[in-house]
């Protein structure tokens, strides 16, 4: 009996090994086929691009589908995706492994570091980053001929979106109290820093506030902090990782104080906090408005279609990243650099690495969300940044392309223009 069991165990292990190995090979195979499919542009050399990822969420899943299913076959490139990279050392290891695998370029969604740029430079590999230049002055000032620039959200526009929403949904005197979850901004998460800054700027503009500390310092606080301001408004910054046991009870505790009617989150946490917010609303009979960052997903559909105890959607306002536009811009910067036009297509008017910015989309009702149905839908393969859009950003299809023209194109993306593009 024991022998039979042991053989079965050995068989299962071997089988699992073979299955996973074959699954891997199968998937790679399909990736290659996708890369060489005939309907795309062919530029002779098939470029290999490594993509370093920091997390695994809706946005990353969508990005993967966009790159693998659309960009790779259309533009004859191949992608190598990383596992979730914990720190800069892991990013470095991934880049080294990509270089050994013959990668021509790296798109880095994790670190924003001159060290990685230097490593790419030494190996003749193009380097592109998602992030903001302010956080990497070395990259801005240093000599990195193969660094093609940054891509990310237009922070001013994001602040405008929050400010406009606050304008319509808050009292004139700001007496409702604002709880701002800065999430992992204190640990250097680029997106959380950008959004926290945008929220604080939005509040500042709406109420004409003067903060005692600079916003640059406030977004990095690692302890729950009341933002001191000249008008005495209650604005509390709540940093921390949603993965910690203590994070959610902390939010609950603050909301239960009854001082906050606005909960603004810099991370995609509207779903994690939904139960807590609903319970506090039901128990205390208050209405807490929730604003957050989101990605197009079924989770977002559910959030808008689920009503809280006051009959409002469980999330009141989200800013959604048009994921494919960001991905198109990092790809375009990388691809243009690979095609030898880094000096024109990836440099600003001062000759510095380009800073590509896209506009976030705001959604504040189920009706507005319904309009976006099918946008960046990985399953249907319907992308905001489709072929026509991407072609305008690439030197192979638009020889006159410059960093300014790419930024112009990206700035033109809003709800109306997307609706027009998507038909």
């Amino acid at each position: 009996m024991n022998k039979i069991l042991k053989r079965m165990a050995a068989g299962i292990l071997t089988g699992a090994l073979c299955l996973t190995a074959f699954a891997g090979c199968g998937s790679t195979g399909s990736g290659s086929q996708g890369g060489s499919s005939a309907d795309g542009e062919t530029t002779g050399k098939k470029f290999v691009i490594g993509v370093a990822e920091a997390q695994a969420n809706d946005e990353v899943t969508t990005r993967r589908a966009y790159f693998e299913n659309f960009i790779a076959p259309t533009y004859n490139v191949e992608f190598i995706f990383s596992e979730v990279l914990k720190d800069d050392a892991a990013v470095k290891t991934f880049i080294e492994n990509c270089i050994d695998s013959g990668a021509d370029a790296i798109i880095d969604f994790k670190s924003n570091s001159s060290q990685m740029a230097r490593l790419c430079e030494e190996n003749g590999v193009v380097y592109t980053v998602q992030g903001i230049p302010d956080m990497a002055p070395d990259l801005m000032e240093g000599e990195f001929p193969l660094f093609s620039g940054w891509s990310g959200a237009n922070n001013d526009h994001l602040a405008d979106l929050f400010r406009n929403w606050l304008e319509e949904n808050t009292s004139a005197d700001g007496s409702e109290g604002f709880l701002v979850s800065t999430s992992l901004a204190s640990q250097g998460n680029v997106q959380h820093i950008e959004v926290s800054r945008a929220i604080l700027e939005g509040l500042q503009e709406k109420y004409g506030l003067t903060y005692e500390q600079p916003i640059e310092d406030l977004v990095y606080v690692s302890e729950t902090t009341n933002v001191a301001n000249d008008k005495g408004l209650l604005i509390t910054l709540y940093p921390g990782s949603p993965n910690k046991d203590t994070w959610l009870p902390g939010i609950s505790s603050l909301l239960q104080s009854g001082k906050y009617k606005m909960f603004l989150s810099s991370g995609q946490t509207y779903n994690q906090t939904a139960t807590v917010v609903n319970e506090v609303e039901a128990a205390f009979g208050i209405d807490i408005k929730v604003a957050s960052i989101a990605a197009f997903s079924t989770t977002l559909d559910t959030a808008f279609s689920t009503l809280d105890p006051n009959g409002n959607p469980s999330v009141d306002f989200v800013t959604v990243k048009p994921s494919s536009v960001l991905n198109a811009s990092v790809f375009a910067a990388t691809y243009n650099a690979l095609n030898g036009v880094i000096d024109t297509a990836c440099r600003d008017e001062n000759g510095k690495p380009a800073n590509f910015r896209f506009n976030m989309i705001s959604i504040s009702s189920p009706e507005e969300l319904a309009k976006t149905k099918g946008w960046d839908d990985a399953e249907a393969g319907t992308w905001i940044a489709g072929k026509e859009f991407v072609d305008q950003m690439l030197v192979t299809t638009n020889p006159d392309v410059t960093a300014a023209s790419i930024n112009e194109l990206m700035a033109s993306v809003d709800v109306d223009s997307i609706a027009e593009m998507m038909g």
């Binding site: 050995a10 292990l13 071997t14 699992a16 090994l17 996973t20 190995a21 699954a23 891997g24 090979c25 998937s27 790679t28 990736g31 290659s32 190598i80 995706f81 990383s82 596992e83 914990k86 720190d87 800069d88 050392a89 470095k92 290891t93 991934f94 080294e96 492994n97 990509c98 050994d100 695998s101 013959g102 570091s113 001159s114 060290q115 230097r118 956080m135 070395d138 992992l184 204190s186 640990q187 250097g188 998460n189 820093i193 990095y220 690692s222």
Partner: protein, 338 residues
């Protein structure tokens, strides 16, 4: 006459089926020693073939060694802890805190040796604290490790604050890198560990204590002293690894060292060492395991295995290798940890 008949009897007894023969080979100590090396060589050969020879390039092999250094250094040190039957998974947090205080000290003074001294000193101090909790307060080392990992990580986060990362001047890290500090320090430490572990009385005592603590104590060996030595040797390694990690990316962040404890345990076991120590322990298992993990990661990526599957494949290979390299016990293996 007696000898001949005995040989004949042995011949009959030795008529074993293939499975028993495999078991005999598997339990041979030379096989157990050679197996991790053979597996490493086999992995390199398989990936070499699968990548059309690309995997044999010097730059690739050098890359594997370079990537294995941090885990290898920690794993070499940690094998001292494992050898007398203790466990410690807090080394990632220790490394993070050592590196953070080292960088803070360096940035305050601009004295490069201070970076190394503070990193190593802090790591030694923290490992000594862990050990004291175990030896003096009688808490199992694994429990201490679980608790202090969270405490050290939280303190490190509070120390770093701000943007979650502190940079050091690239010139400093590149000077240390170009001067070969990493390789010199690593091999120096590795040789020290080999000598202490295999050629000194303390090394033998550690293995004896891991094999049979009661028996070892009855022969006059001090478990407490040996535990301190093992933790301090590990602390030295973790301190050096902290410096290597700073040199590697010219910075320290709140994520530095996260998850390292489990990676090191994985590497050590893959290198052929029992995490419960004993006579089969050795000081080089960590390095071999770290090289195997680095080769696997690089190889799987180079042959184009999608990232979502890499971890799963690594898990299956890990279990298969550990199964092949472990002694099959009559009863179920167990060890009280709480």
């Amino acid at each position: 006459m007696t000898a001949t008949s005995s040989a004949n009897t042995s011949g009959k007894e030795l008529h074993l089926n293939w499975k028993e023969r495999v078991d005999v080979i598997r339990s041979n100590r030379w096989f157990l020693m050679a197996f991790p090396f053979a597996m490493l060589a086999l992995i390199i050969l398989i990936f070499g073939g699968a990548t059309g020879g690309n995997f044999f390039r010097v730059s690739v092999l050098k890359g594997i060694l370079s990537q294995a250094i941090i885990i290898g250094t920690c794993a070499t040190g940690v094998s001292f802890i494992y050898s007398n039957g203790n466990l410690d998974i807090s080394i990632g947090a220790v490394l993070g805190m050592g590196a953070t205080l080292g960088v803070l000290a360096y940035n305050a003074t601009n004295i490069t040796p201070l970076l190394i001294l503070v990193s190593v000193g802090v790591s030694l101090g923290l490992m000594a604290f862990n050990c004291t909790m175990s030896v003096v307060c009688h808490i199992k080392t694994i429990t201490v490790a679980i608790v202090v990992t969270q405490i050290y990580s939280a303190i490190t986060t509070l120390l770093i604050g701000g943007a979650g990362t502190i940079d050091i001047a690239y010139e400093t890290s590149s000077m240390l890198e170009d001067g070969g500090f990493r390789y010199i320090a690593f091999f120096g430490y590795f040789i020290l560990c080999l000598v202490v572990y295999h050629f000194t009385r303390i090394g033998r005592e550690l293995r004896f204590l891991g094999g049979n603590e009661t028996c070892a104590q009855q022969t006059g060996m001090s478990s407490g002293k040996a535990t301190y030595v093992s933790f301090l040797m590990a602390g030295l390694g973790v301190g050096l690894a902290a410096v290597f990690s700073v040199i590697d990316v010219s910075a320290v962040s709140v994520e530095t060292g996260s998850g390292l404890g489990m990676d090191v345990m994985l590497a050590t076991v893959l290198g052929g060492m029992s995490i419960f120590g004993g006579s089969r322990s050795n000081a080089y298992a960590g390095l071999i395991g770290a090289l195997t993990v680095a080769a696997l990661n690089k190889g799987l990526l180079m042959v184009g295995v999608p990232s979502a599957f890499i971890q799963g494949i690594r898990g299956v290979i890990f279990l298969a290798l550990v199964y092949m390299n472990s002694e099959r016990r009559d009863l179920l293996p167990s060890r009280m940890q709480f």
